[in-house]
């Protein structure tokens, strides 16, 4: 196989059966969601939490068509409760190469790259930016909300055109964080 020998778990205190029943449900659920959330089918999966283990393997790289829970297109981002003022976790809808980070829309609204029509953009592709540097504006009902870089890096590319509507959390700018 492929499902390799499993090491014993020595250090955990014995669970009660009721706790284990809850736990195995949660682990199984997470294993399913894990598979469902992947766009490429794995050949083996192992999820362990304490004394609970779920393992699966597939003989060939058959496509694991995720059945259910039937997620919408944007299911894979963990939901968070950050306020718009804080850093917004971007959707993974437009996920780029590893090492690349994105700056997300702080509000539903319209994205602008410049402070006003005709003015030069806040930043251009290739620019190095410091944390806190303004890279755009999202306008919602005449309210201008600045978009800041939340880390240092190089502007890899814009993911949204100027004057384009965006949703909350939508990735606006790809930032090459490694290029600092």
């Amino acid at each position: 196989m492929t499902l390799a020998p499993e090491q014993p778990v020595h250090d955990l205190a014995p669970d009660t059966a009721a706790e284990l029943i809850d736990l195995v449900g949660a682990v199984r659920e997470h294993a399913t969601r894990l598979i469902v959330d992947l766009s490429t089918a794995p050949s083996a999966v192992r999820v362990r939490a304490g004394d609970v283990l779920v393992e699966l393997e597939w003989q060939s790289a058959a496509p694991v068509a995720p059945d259910h829970p039937a997620p919408t297109a944007h299911s894979s981002t963990p939901a968070t409760a950050n306020a718009p003022a804080g850093p917004v976790p971007p959707d993974t809808r437009a996920a780029g190469p590893p090492g690349e980070r994105t700056i997300a829309a702080p509000s539903v609204g319209t994205f602008y790259r410049s402070p006003e029509p005709g003015a030069p953009p806040f930043v251009a592709e290739g620019d190095l930016v410091a944390p806190g540097r303004q890279v755009g504006i999202v306008e919602v009902m005449k309210l201008m909300i600045p978009v800041h870089a939340d880390r240092a890096g190089r502007i890899a590319r814009f993911l949204v055109d100027d004057n384009e509507p965006v949703e909350y959390g939508q990735p606006l700018v790809a930032l090459d964080a490694a290029a600092e």
């Binding site: 659920e29 829970p69 299911s75 981002t77 939901a79 409760a81 949703e167 909350y168």
Partner: protein, 458 residues
């Protein structure tokens, strides 16, 4: 009629509204927080816009985000559901300012009726009976105490900007008044940003009976009968039914006529609810007006056959009421149970999580309004209402038997998930409820004598 309706809400009511919109051949836009991106209404809608993070104040309570979403999706009407911005005159005004129809009463009406003291004064003028109390917000503690003394104890102190069972305090005797007065004012300031309060007599034993009204923009108004919502825990309704059982002859009709008179006096347009208390002597008193669709509206729909959301949308689109008071006929009995994702054994603490099994009941005369589905993750950050189970039957005993059957059939499980289903089963089984001898104190008494709530905190 509109072409596109944006639903500025979440949970079961968003799906409920979306269903009727579809039946009216309207395009449906859902708005949602990051937390709700996999919600039932998002799956159901023609278009969905993510308007903010999980925290409601930056998503479902954000007027700019909602109006922005409506404008960009070409929505010509916004349905606010209940809760959130449903009774916020600012959303109604912003919609109007942007050429969007707000499906609800005019902003001025929402504002006036939202001020509970102003509403009391207005209804007093319209001839509705009120409980003894102040017609205006109270000033100093001494002044308030004098009013309370003149009313007689117990009294209840309520926030002028309150409603929905929040910002209340019962005062049993004069010695407790001063402190309760300060506390209620402070709480009202915190909850509503408005510290004004008023005082009225508190009825220890009373029925909560409310009238559903519907008015068009041309001064026509009807009522659709009454609902009894006396089964409450800490002022939150758990079980509702229509018609109200065991009322004195003719009382419901008198209440219905009063509500229509009050609504027309207020210039009301849309669907609304007049809440009354009915004392053991059969007298009734106006409490407040709710300027929205209510959670418990389905029981009225089941006995009248009238889709209230459809009528809301029609009158918002300036249609005339399609029926008169004489056309409204109540048939049979409907009961609703609210299944919350709460653990009755831990003082009804929220018990959200992933629904590994979710199988609603079915069959004759059973209706389920829910946003739940197998695999749905009930979020921890919002209201715990997970499903409304509604049954209809020709008479009350048959409706109770049907509710028992349907509750037993509802299978909801998941790691960490608990619901109030079994608790509601006990409420429905209770002789006081079965014999319609219950009042608003029923659940508290029931819990005090019951192991659900071992701490006896109620």
């Amino acid at each position: 009629m509109f072409s596109t309706v944006l639903i500025a809400n979440r949970g079961e009511i968003a799906l409920r509204v979306a269903r009727t919109c579809k039946e009216l051949d309207l395009r449906v836009v859902a708005v949602h927080s990051t937390e709700d991106r996999d919600s039932a209404v998002v799956r159901f809608a023609d278009e969905a816009v993510q308007i903010g993070p999980a925290a409601a104040r930056h998503s479902y309570l954000s007027v700019p985000a909602i109006v922005e979403a409506a404008l960009r999706t070409g929505a010509d009407a916004v349905h606010p559901g209940y809760g959130f911005l449903s009774e916020d005159p600012v959303l109604a005004e912003e919609c109007a300012a942007n050429g969007i129809v707000f499906i609800g009463p005019p902003p001025g009406v929402i504002e006036r009726l939202g001020d509970k003291t102003a509403a009391r004064a207005l209804m007093h003028e319209a001839g509705l009976p009120l409980l003894p109390g102040s017609l205006h917000a109270l000033g100093t503690a001494d002044e308030a105490l004098a009013v309370a003394d003149s009313i007689g104890y117990p009294v209840i102190i309520k926030a002028a900007a309150g409603g929905g069972g929040r910002g209340l305090r019962v005062v049993p005797e004069p010695g407790a008044f001063a402190r309760a007065y300060q506390e209620t004012r402070a709480q009202a300031q915190t909850l509503f940003g408005d510290g004004r309060v008023y005082v009225e007599r508190y009825l220890g034993s009373a029925r909560h009976v409310e009238i559903q009204i519907l008015c068009d923009a041309y001064g026509n108004g009807v009522h659709l009968g009454e609902r009894d919502c006396s089964v409450q825990r800490r002022h939150q309704k758990l079980v509702e039914e229509a018609p109200a059982p065991a009322l004195p002859d003719g009382l419901a009709e008198r209440m219905g006529e009063s509500a229509v008179r009050g609504a027309l006096a207020a210039g009301y347009v849309g669907a609304g609810t007049f809440e009354f208390l009915v004392a053991p002597d059969g007298s009734f008193s106006f409490m407040e007006v709710n300027c929205r669709i209510q959670v418990e509206h389905p029981v009225t729909e089941m006995v009248t056959g009238i889709d209230l959301v459809r009528e809301q949308i029609r009158v918002a689109a300036r249609a005339r009421l399609a029926f008169t008071q004489d056309d409204v006929a109540v048939r049979g009995v409907a009961i609703e149970c609210r299944l919350n994702a709460e653990d009755p054994r831990r003082d009804f603490a929220p018990a959200p999580g992933v629904l590994t099994r979710f199988e609603p009941p079915g069959g004759p005369f059973v209706r389920v309004d829910t946003h739940g589905y197998p695999g749905y993750r009930v979020p921890a950050v919002y209201d715990s209402l997970l499903a409304k189970l509604i049954v209809w039957a020709p008479d009350r005993p048959a409706a109770i038997a049907r509710m028992q059957r349907a509750l037993d059939e509802f299978h909801i499980t998941g790691p960490g998930v608990h619901t109030t289903a079994a608790f509601l089963r006990e409420v429905i089984d209770h002789p006081l409820f079965r014999h319609a001898k219950h009042d608003t104190a029923f659940v508290a008494q029931f819990l005090a004598a019951d192991p659900h709530d071992p701490g006896g905190s109620v």
